[in-house]
Symmetry: C2
Subunit: 414 residues, 2 copies
């Protein structure tokens, strides 16, 4: 892996340059990158056409091909996203805490870039520009590994970004595609903790398992979402229907869509027939526990359904005796991503918020809001299902760590 | 490993109880634990005598035996530490950030316990009480694995703490020693990410390497410290001597002691003879680079010296051309633990603080201050050499993560 050792050494060297690059320059360079993407439109679209041709030849599904496609509008959106990231408040240098010790040392806890960040992702070529921009904005070096189906588009986009780095006398290694995308190369890279500071895998279960099992570098996972909506006995029907339909149907393939609806058995007889009607109109396939199937005529759910991330317009429904059973079910089957309760009862709302162990816990709102853009982070590197470092949507702040800067005037320890 | 699966399941169940235990009760229980340690003094000292007997039979060094020894005074210190931890501000429930989105969702980022925390450590039995208390204070479940030389003392201490849990109707699994301390058991445990949320290894390089390579659970390492003191051209001699002697000599076996002194070649002729005299008086063995040896008569340093953590009263000295060479040396050989500059020059101080990539960067103060107690954290689980989650001294705040609690009134995503 000698060719990759040099590649990582260059990345580490670039990280030292990036860590002292003023925020104003980082923003200015990002705006130039946005312009360059538009100026080099023809080259990028030509590369994308090559990917599209290969995708069709390989028989990729229509949905996959659509995700892969770039056009004028999508390139403009990509450029706009870069400008938005450039305009965010600089996450580097924030003083997170500070105090003076009994010895008179002034301690400041200051946000600093993480260093070299590897991101592994799939299909959409705009992720290449987004992730590169988020890492650059936060003073990090980005090592990107996209899917092989988008290799021509990703290479063209990275080349444009690197040309801007070069024109600004900045190391091109600050934004680089991993030159060897083989499984062996990835497996080797995630063990190079001397050069790599963080690895973010976004993708299927197999990828995440592979990275987690092989990495010695810290991993922030963007894993699956098995999310629930719990309809409490104190729920208002209209809110229930609006939130449930949105959380399932608005984009069933997203990780923040719900998979299971838990409903209090005391209101189930009144709510279930109306909910069935609404879900039928939305084209949702329903599966229910035994008690649910006794109320409405739907397919029975098996035990495996409670752990399933459908990624499609399918919903499992389970009746529960109350909030304790609902929370126990969530802790047993959920993936600690996004969980919601619908209720008008204040105590139940607070109990749910406090007891449920998940990145995002909602009262009377759709789980679909778990998203860097919706949270106001500008954009996101991913949605962390880790408990440590970053949890939930990861924006530029989550791409920083901290150090302690300590000012003394000759203090020594007694 | 079936006996350990049940053990971890109980730990996870206890974590759900701990996560909603009010801070006031956590503090009260800790104060009771402090009292119980004193009340059960005889039992603990008897168990410790057993460890001491085995240690002597096994021919452990005098230093090791002293670390292992408990007596009335040390037990009282242990109890006092528990009361101090009880008195700390509750780290759980702090609202770290909060805002309202364009959709009118109120988002609060709230500190919550991490969950189940495994800590692997060596020798000193007081670590058992300290770490258990820090985890308990922060609402976590502690799984403790101490060294086998302290097994009787650790078992006795844990039993006392558990008796207080039991008397308070709290799950005894909230503070537990790993029932099987074999390498196989540890290797298995660090892969149980379903039950374990964090593992903190504190100890020798072999342990840390073993845990890092085998863990799928997130690891916060307490690794070695190769720390430097850089004597800038603008340094004042008196401060240099005071800080240098303290940073090396006050406790050479600590990870925050310095291993290498870097000195600007322009002031070296004036400073080195005086520093040699001071270090000779302190009994420090000096090794120097070629240029240093041309100024003072000391042993020559080899290339390997620059990467060495001596853990003894030995210091390597290297002359550098200026701040760039000093920082490059630190980045090449340092372990990103604690780094210091002595200077009267403001610009040099700021440059060093900003450019050096380490957990703690000091101006005109000893690196020996990198310590939870000295930082005002009360006590510490360890000193993290990770870049992520926690960096530097880890107190109770660093034993929390966060979740987003989101208040809506029926919002759905457009």
């Amino acid at each position: 892996m000698e060719h990759l050792t040099d590649f990582l050494k260059n990345a580490k060297a670039a990280a030292h340059v990036m860590s002292v690059l003023p925020g104003k320059r980082r923003s200015a360079v990002l705006n130039e990158m946005a312009q360059a993407l538009l100026a080099q439109k023809e080259t990028i679209l030509k590369a994308n056409a090559e990917d599209m041709k290969n995708a069709e030849a390989a028989g990729l599904s229509e949905a996959m091909c659509d995700r892969l496609l770039l056009n004028d509008k999508r390139l403009e959106e990509m450029a706009t996203a870069l400008c938005e990231i450039a305009a965010l408040r600089d996450p580097v240098g924030r003083v997170l805490d500070g105090w003076v010790t009994d010895d008179g040392l002034k301690i400041e806890k200051v946000a600093v870039p993480i260093g070299v960040v590897g991101v592994i992702y799939e299909s959409r070529p705009n992720v290449t520009a987004d992730v590169a921009a988020l890492c650059f904005k936060s003073g990090n070096v980005a090592i990107l590994k996209g899917g092989k189906e988008a290799i021509c588009s990703n290479t063209a986009i990275a080349a444009v970004l690197q040309s801007v780095l070069k024109a600004n006398d900045l190391p091109e290694a600050a934004i680089a595609l991993l030159p060897d995308g083989s499984r062996e190369a990835v497996g080797w890279m995630v063990q190079q903790d001397r050069y790599l500071d963080l690895i973010v895998p976004r993708g299927g279960e197999a990828l995440i398992k592979f990275v987690s099992e092989n990495a010695t570098v810290p991993v922030v996972k963007h894993d699956k979402g098995v999310c629930h909506l719990y309809v409490h006995i104190g729920a208002d029907y209209k809110t229930t229907e609006r939130v449930a339909i949105n959380a399932k149907v608005q984009r069933p393939s997203a990780c923040n869509a719900i998979e299971t609806l838990l409903i209090d058995e005391k209101i189930a007889p009144a709510f279930l027939p109306r909910l069935k009607k609404a879900f039928d109109e939305a084209g949702t396939k329903l599966r229910g526990c035994e008690k649910t199937c006794a109320q409405i005529v739907i397919d029975p759910a098996s035990e495996a359904d409670w752990d399933e991330e459908y990624l499609s317009n399918t919903l499992a429904i389970k009746m529960v005796a109350g909030i304790d059973e609902a929370i126990a079910h969530i802790h047993r089957h959920g993936s600690s991503h996004s969980e919601a309760i619908v209720t008008t009862n204040h105590a139940a709302a607070e109990q749910f918020l406090n007891r449920v162990d998940a990145a995002c816990v909602y009262v009377n709102a759709s789980t679909r809001f778990t998203d860097g853009g919706q949270f106001g982070f500008g954009a996101e590197v991913g949605i962390s299902t880790n408990k440590l470092h970053a949890r939930g949507p990861m924006g530029v702040s989550e791409l920083t760590t901290y150090k302690f800067q300590i000012y003394g005037d000759g203090q020594v320890r007694k």
